[in-house]
Amino acid sequence: MFLYALRRLLLAIPLLIGITFISFLVIHLAPGTPGEIQTGDLSIQSDKEIQKLLIELYDLDKPLHVQYGKWLTRIVRLDFGKSFSPDARPVLQKIGERLPVTLLLNIVEMLIIVVLAVPIGVGSATRQYSMFDKVTTVFVFVGFATPDFWLALLLMILFGVQLGWLPISGLRSLNWEYLSFWQQQWDFAGHLLLPILVATFGGLAGFSRYMRQSMLEVVRQDYIQSARAKGLPERVVIGKHALRNAMLPIVTVLGLSLPGLIGGSIIVESIFAIPGMGQLMVQAVFERDYPVIMGNLVIVSTLTLVANLLADVTYSFVDPRIRVGARRGRR
C-alpha cells in the first residue's frame, strides 16, 4: 500500500515539472518577440510598461534555458512575483485568500454529486427501462447539454429577481455585521445555495450515468448470481455485494473529472461574484495581470494533480487488485 503510494508520487514528479514547463510556454505564446504582448484597451498600464514589467519579471531578455531555470527556481519557492494591479500585492497572498472559498465550493459539490449520483445510478440500473430510468436518462442528456452559465442566469432570474428568495451575488449580505452568529451562517449558506446547485447539475448527470453503467455491468457478474442463489435478500445483494464493486470505477472517474469541476468554478464564481480563484483568474485576464494569471495556472493544476494522486491512492486502497497488479509491473 505504502509502496504503491510512493510509486504514484514518483510518477507525479515529471508531471509537476511538465506543469511548470507548459505554463512557461504559455508566456511565450504571444506573437512576435515574447515581450511584445498585445494588450487590450482594458489594461491599466500602457503596452510599453507592461512589456517592461514582463521582461523584468520573467527575464525575457535572457536565453531560453536561463529563463526557464529562473522560472523554475521561483516556482519551487512559490514566488510568483507581485500583482500588476495597483495594489501590487504578492500573488501568493492574493491567491491564498481566495483558495479556501474555491476549495470549499468544490468539496461540497463533490460530496453532493456522490451522495446523489450513487442512489440515482443504482436506482435506474436495478430498474432498467422503468419510468425512473427513463426520466433520469432524459435528465442526464439535458444535464449534459445545459450550459452552466445559462442555468445560473435562469436560476438568478427565477429565485433572485422574480421570487426574491435568494441573494444572487457575493458571499455575504450587506448587513452581515449586524447579524447574530447563526444568522450569519444562514446568510452564508443562502449565498452558496445557487452556485452549488449550478455547479453540481452537470456533474450529477455524468456521475449518475456512470454509476448506472457500472452497476449494470456488476449485476451481470457471477458472484451476484451466487449471492442471490444462497438466498440473500435483494437489499443485501444490491446494497452490499453489487454496490461495493460498482463504486470502484467511480473513484477513478471522480479523479478524472476534477479538472472539469474546478474549471467550472471560473464560470460559477464570476456569475455569482464569489471571491474565489476562478473570479480572480477572470479579473486578472481582463486586467492583463500576468503574474496572477501564471500563479493561478500553476497552483490550480498542481492542486488537480494532488487530487488525482489522492484518488489513485484511494482507489488502490479500496481495490487491492490494483496494488497487486502494479507490483507485477502492470499499469
Binding site: V26, F149, W150, I262, G263, I266, V282, S301
Partner: protein, 265 residues
C-alpha cells in the same frame, strides 16, 4: 441538426433584421410580432443576432474539433504505431495536458492573445486533442497486430502507407464518434468563454456573448437570457444524440464499452 446548419448558412437570407443595426426607439422591447424574440440594449433584433450567432458557434465547433482531431490522430497514430519510448513520451504529454483544468489554461492563453474567432478556434482545438489521441492509440495498438497489417509489412509496404491506407481507416469509427461528441463540447466551451467576455468579441454575435449582454439586463429583459441558452441546449443535445446514434450504428460492440460516461443501451 440539419435544420440548425441550414439556419446558420442561410442566416443573411432569413434573418428579418440586420443583426448589428441598433435602433434607439426599440431598446429592450419584449418579444412581439415585429421582433419575435425581442430586442437587446441597443435595440438590435435578438432573433437575427441568434441566426448569426449560430454561424459563429457552429463554425467554432467544427473548426476546433477539426484541429483537435488532426493533432489527436497524428499523435495517437504515432504513439500507437511506434510504441516504446515514442509512445511513452506522447502518453505522458497527454497525461500532462489532462491535469490542467481546461478553462484555466484557455484563459491563461487568451490573456496573451488578442481574442478573435480564429484564436478561439485554435486555442480550443489545441487544448482538446487528448481524448482523440488516446482513442486512436488504443485502436492502433490493437490493429497493428492483426493479420492484414502484418501481411502488408511482409510485402514491404512503407510505414506511412500501412498507417494511412490500412490501419487508420479501420480506426476511424470511434474517432468519428468522438468528433461528433466533441463538437457540442467545443460549442459549450466557446459560449462559456464568450459569456465571460473573453471569446467572440462584440459586435460579432455569438450565443455566448448575447447571454453576456443579457446578464446585464437580467431584471428587465429575460428574453435576452432565455433564448440563446435554449439554442445552445438544443444544439448540444442534438449533436450528443446524433453522436450516440452514430456510435450504435457504426459498431454495436461499442455500446458495451464502459470507458465513456454516456452510453446508451
Amino acid at each position: 441538426m440539419v435544420c440548425l446548419a441550414l439556419l446558420a448558412v442561410l442566416a443573411p437570407v432569413i434573418a428579418p433584421w440586420d443583426p448589428n443595426r441598433p435602433d434607439v426607439k426599440k431598446i429592450l422591447d419584449a418579444p412581439s410580432g415585429v421582433h419575435p424574440l425581442g430586442t437587446d440594449q441597443l435595440g438590435r433584433d435578438v432573433l437575427s443576432r441568434m441566426f448569426y450567432g449560430a454561424r459563429v458557434s457552429l463554425a467554432v465547433g467544427f473548426v476546433s474539433v477539426g484541429i483537435a482531431s488532426l493533432i489527436g490522430i497524428v499523435l495517437g497514430a504515432t504513439a500507437g504505431y511506434h510504441g516504446g519510448v515514442v509512445d511513452a513520451t506522447i502518453m505522458r504529454l497527454v497525461d500532462l495536458m489532462l491535469v490542467f483544468p481546461r478553462l484555466f489554461l484557455l484563459l491563461a492563453v487568451l490573456a496573451f492573445l488578442r481574442p478573435s474567432i480564429w484564436t478561439i478556434m485554435a486555442v480550443i482545438g489545441l487544448t482538446g486533442w487528448m481524448g482523440v489521441a488516446r482513442l486512436v492509440r488504443a485502436e492502433f495498438l490493437a490493429l497493428k497486430e492483426r493479420e492484414f497489417v502484418v501481411w502488408s509489412e511482409s510485402i514491404g509496404a512503407s510505414a506511412f502507407r500501412i498507417v494511412w491506407r490500412h490501419i487508420l481507416p479501420n480506426a476511424m469509427a470511434p474517432v468519428l464518434v468522438a468528433m461528433t461528441l466533441g463538437i457540442p463540447a467545443a460549442i459549450l466551451t466557446e459560449s462559456g468563454l464568450s459569456f465571460l467576455g473573453l471569446g467572440v468579441q462584440p459586435p460579432h454575435a455569438s450565443w455566448g456573448n448575447i447571454l453576456n449582454e443579457g446578464k446585464d439586463a437580467i431584471e428587465i429583459g429575460w428574453w435576452l437570457s432565455v433564448y440563446p441558452g435554449l439554442a445552445i441546449l438544443v444544439t448540444v443535445l442534438s449533436y450528443n444524440l446524433f453522436g450516440e446514434g452514430i456510435r450504435d450504428a457504426l459498431d454495436p460492440r461499442l455500446r458495451q464499452s464502459a470507458g465513456r460516461i454516456v452510453t446508451r443501451r
